[in-house]
Symmetry: C2
Subunit: 135 residues, 2 copies
Amino acid sequence: MSKQELVVLDESDDAEACCPGLLTAPLAEGQAVELAKVFKALGDPVRLRLLSMIASRSGGEVCVCDLTPAFELSQPTISHHLKLLRQAGLIDCERRGTWVHYWLVPEMTDRLAGLLTRPAGEPLPERTAPVGAAS
Amino acid sequence: MSKQELVVLDESDDAEACCPGLLTAPLAEGQAVELAKVFKALGDPVRLRLLSMIASRSGGEVCVCDLTPAFELSQPTISHHLKLLRQAGLIDCERRGTWVHYWLVPEMTDRLAGLLTRPAGEPLPERTAPVGAAS
DNA sequence: ATCTTGTATTGACAGACGTCAATCCAACTG
DNA sequence: CAGTTGGATTGACGTCTGTCAATACAAGAT
């Protein structure tokens, strides 16, 4: 059940794929395609709340039976959203007896946070006084 | 042309909306809806590359005429994607004479990075040796 | 083995999304 | 003024996505 696609996360891809950062160099098409899958998984309110509930759980794990009743959605719908989050590599799960437990994959959120963080000390090019002051 | 919706970014919303962080507390539904709009804007390879090209520009600005030829897509399609990024509050633009210039709104990417960053020192609950070792 | 409960999968359907051709608008040019 | 060019908007079309009812599967209970 665990680990089925694991979209991104592998650094050993395009040779220079260490941490260009999205904001510092023009993202390559292949990387953009992979990254978009992860962001798309985050692009739904229900999935964001699911991820948040899973990540903020003290024990680090949540049972599906604790997630489903928090939404006014059918159980299959919740299961569907959890599947998408898992395919994006954001969470993982394991069946333990009767119940299935989910937990966050922090490496993925760390990676996203890193991609969205601009290198400290960037000039921040003075956007406030338009050069031409046109129109 | 600039500033038309500006989805998120306003901290003065739910009183305690300082920086709960998405990974530390169960996101409220309203906030999830707003946040999802931004992540959805990032959930497309073309938009990710556009944002990357805009953000990594040395001068801090890019003319649309420099963006369009980088894709094998029609000009209206690129314009459409730029509009979505702008509505998400990730970029902004201004017409200067004949050309329209786009630039990154770093406050938004900073905010996203912050939301995805887990507070340093979190236990990282030992995921590797499943308690029950079931299945 | 049968029943019951927790979770995943399937199939269907309405609405959203990405794309383009056609068109429109703004600004510069002659 | 008309003509040209950069860019946005409109309308249409096929695909993807979120949702549910129905069903299937897994594991404990009887």
